[in-house]
């Protein structure tokens, strides 16, 4: 697919229009989202720049909104033929679970689990890779962040349950 056709996909216009709607709603709600109770005149105050930037986003989105409402004859929802991002979405979901896992089961266990599951999912699951890499990365992260940089990590919630 040519770059021009790729660029004219209606998915672009949808995203552009959504950004435009977001900017419009923020533009309207700006006075309530920004604390303007200070003594400064408007031009020194905290509201002037947000108003300009939301105006900028809205102006930039107008062509997208126009194209979304009045699509050309050859316009389609086809994006790039690269599939439906299933792999990325699953990995992203795992990453969110991993973030929660940091609190629930701690850095070491959640890192090891995330790596094992993610590597299995992306088919990098030869016995050597799936055994060695999660273990190695977990150890490296543990030593760098907990020992070398002395970063505080929350006490795993699961430990509290066992202690009770």
């Amino acid at each position: 697919m040519s770059d021009k056709a790729f660029s004219s996909s209606r998915v672009h216009d949808l995203l552009g229009s959504l950004l435009g709607v977001f900017a419009a709603s923020m533009l309207i709600s700006c006075p309530w989202q920004v604390d303007t109770s200070g003594p400064d005149p408007f031009y020194k105050g905290p509201l002037i720049f947000p108003l300009i930037l939301f105006g900028l986003i809205l102006a930039g989105s107008l062509p997208s909104m126009w194209r979304l409402c009045k699509p050309s004859l050859n316009a389609s929802w086809y994006l790039d033929g690269q599939g439906k991002s299933l792999k990325s979405m699953v990995i992203l979901g795992l990453l969110i679970v991993y973030l929660a896992g940091l609190m629930v089961i701690g850095l070491e266990v959640s890192t090891w689990l995330f790596l094992v599951i993610a590597l299995k999912f992306v088919k990098q699951d030869s016995p050597l890779k799936i055994t060695l890499i999660p273990l190695l990365i977990t150890l490296i992260l543990f030593f760098i962040f907990k020992i070398f940089l002395d970063v505080w990590f929350p006490e795993p919630l699961i430990m509290g349950i066992f202690q009770e």
Binding site: Y43, P46, F49, I57, G60, L92, L95, V122, I144, P154
Partner: protein, 497 residues
């Protein structure tokens, strides 16, 4: 100046600084070689670690990745016709045909010599040009700074004028991210949506790490596994005799380096334009024009000299005006400000040793990258064989833990993941993501300068047009907006006729 350079030399040769610049360069070469990653991913992943070091060491580490990435990018471009960094695409025009003819060593020699020459010459230009520009900028007041910021922003937007609306939207979105939290001037809350976490604002670090670290790796997860069985290298190190052979193109080397430095100096133009322009000029002025595109070492040398001169070129507006030239130098600006150092004309007066340390470190980085690639050419080339998906998963974990470690806030890691989703969508849709980063970085600068200018003018912006430098910059900005459209219209008219 000499005294400062000497002091900078001693600071740059300290063990911690040398270790940082060597490890940064090594990481830079590796991420540069791996297609789909690039120096930006390397820099943002190392960013959280850099906060544990003093500013000069942190900057040497990240500059090592910045410069090293461009060195590495040329290798897969020559051996596999797969550029490690986008600007190395130009290197593949002549590099790959040379490899196909069994002359990979000469192509790599030309690319390496080009990279080295480009890197060194551009740093020398930086050393001499930065004080001159800082001297001019020392007389700047808020209106001039505001005009410079507008000029920079317009250049970035116009660099992607084929996607003008999208570029403007992303710039605005970047500005919006920079306004979230407590306003520094009035201490008013903005866009906190009633949450405590939002009051600290959205840091540049989780935003960049999310957009590039997580966003880019989500793309990498989907990519097919690259075929690397074609890699053929007769020796494990570079053949010195070939290196001497390409030295005959020294004029092209100097010319391309100067072009690359000045392209890097302009905000938003980037390394792709630098390598294209250097290659094009080299082709026009070459005695053997017909060889370009079919496999000439001169082409590889010109393209690599051009793109390797960009990092030092981009440092000129960053150090003297506080305006980053591209997304990579925007990250460096973040490192400066997090350490309480504010780039601008006074930086060269206030922190002469730090600046000299950076200059010398950049020279060392170029030497280190050159030597590393000469000695370990084959091991580096073999890095391409590491599966991208495996790397993607590992980088994601390091990114999330790294971003948490900066402020020990899970909220920042959440922001990084959210930005990762946005980055993934924008990268996949090929929107100009650099505008978003520039918006985040320049947002605070723009807003402060705008409010200061308005205060000076009692609420009017007319003051910008009353001062010669700011007026000149505004006229220049208008020309940058108008001229491309006029030229495009003329071209379209000619086509119709």
């Amino acid at each position: 100046m000499v005294e400062n350079l000497l002091a900078g030399f001693w600071a740059a040769t300290s063990l911690s600084n040398l270790a940082a610049l060597f490890s940064g360069t090594l990481v830079g070469i590796i991420v540069g070689i791996l297609p789909g990653l690039g120096p930006m991913v390397g820099m943002v992943v190392l960013l959280p670690f850099s906060f544990a070091f003093p500013p000069n060491v942190a900057l040497s580490l990240l500059l090592g990745v910045f410069c090293g990435g461009y060195y590495g990018g040329g290798i897969p471009a020559i051996l596999l016709r797969t550029p490690g960094v986008p600007s190395s695409l130009v290197t593949s025009f002549d590099g790959y045909p040379l490899t196909q003819r069994g002359e990979a060593q000469i192509a790599l020699s030309a690319a390496l010599l080009g990279s080295f020459g480009g890197g060194i010459i551009s740093v020398l230009i930086l050393i001499f040009l930065a004080p001159v520009l800082a001297h001019v900028a020392a007389s700047f007041g808020p209106p001039e700074y505001f005009a410079v910021a507008v000029f920079g922003v317009v250049l970035v937007v116009m660099a992607f004028r084929a996607q003008l609306g999208r570029g403007i939207m992303l710039l605005g979105l970047g500005f919006f991210f920079s306004t979230v939290g407590i306003d520094g001037t009035t201490l008013s809350q903005r866009f906190c949506f009633g949450t405590l976490s939002m009051q600290n604002g959205l840091d540049i670090v989780p935003i960049c790490l999310g957009l590039f670290g997580i966003g880019q790796t989500l793309i990498l997860v989907e990519q097919e596994i690259m075929k690397t069985h074609d890699i053929q290298l007769s020796r494990s190190s570079l053949d010195f005799s070939k290196l001497w052979k390409v030295l005959k193109y020294w004029k092209t080397l100097i010319r391309s380096s100067v072009i690359g430095t000045f392209v890097g100096l302009l905000p938003g133009t980037g390394s792709i334009l630098a390598s294209f322009l250097s290659y094009d000029v080299a082709k026009r002025l070459s005695k053997d024009k017909s060889l370009f595109g079919k496999g000439t070492p001169e082409g590889c040398l010109a393209a690599e000299a051009g793109n390797n001169a960009v990092p030092a070129g981009a440092m000129i507006p960053l150090l003297t005006l506080g305006i980053p030239g591209d997304a990579l130098s925007a990250v460096l600006l973040g490192v400066f400000t997090i350490n309480g150092i504010y780039p601008g004309p006074l930086l060269l007066i206030k922190e002469p040793v730090l600046i000299s340390t950076l200059y010398i470190s950049m020279l060392f980085i170029n030497i280190a990258a050159f030597v590393m690639l000469i000695v370990w050419l084959r091991p580096f080339a073999m890095i391409v064989k590491v599966p991208g998906r495996l790397l993607a998963v590992v980088i994601m974990v390091i990114s999330v833990v790294g971003i948490y470690a900066v402020n020990t806030r899970l909220f920042d890691a959440g922001v990084a993941i959210a930005m990762g989703v946005l980055g993934y969508a924008l990268l996949r849709m090929k929107w100009p993501i650099v505008n978003l980063v520039m918006g985040v970085v320049l947002g605070e600068i723009m807003e402060n300068r705008l409010r200061q200018t308005l205060s000076l003018g009692d609420g009017s912006l007319w003051i910008v047009f009353q001062r010669p430098i700011s007026l000149f910059l505004i006229v220049l900005t208008c020309l940058i907006i108008i001229v491309p459209f006029v030229l495009d219209a003329r071209k379209a008219k000619k086509k119709i006729v």
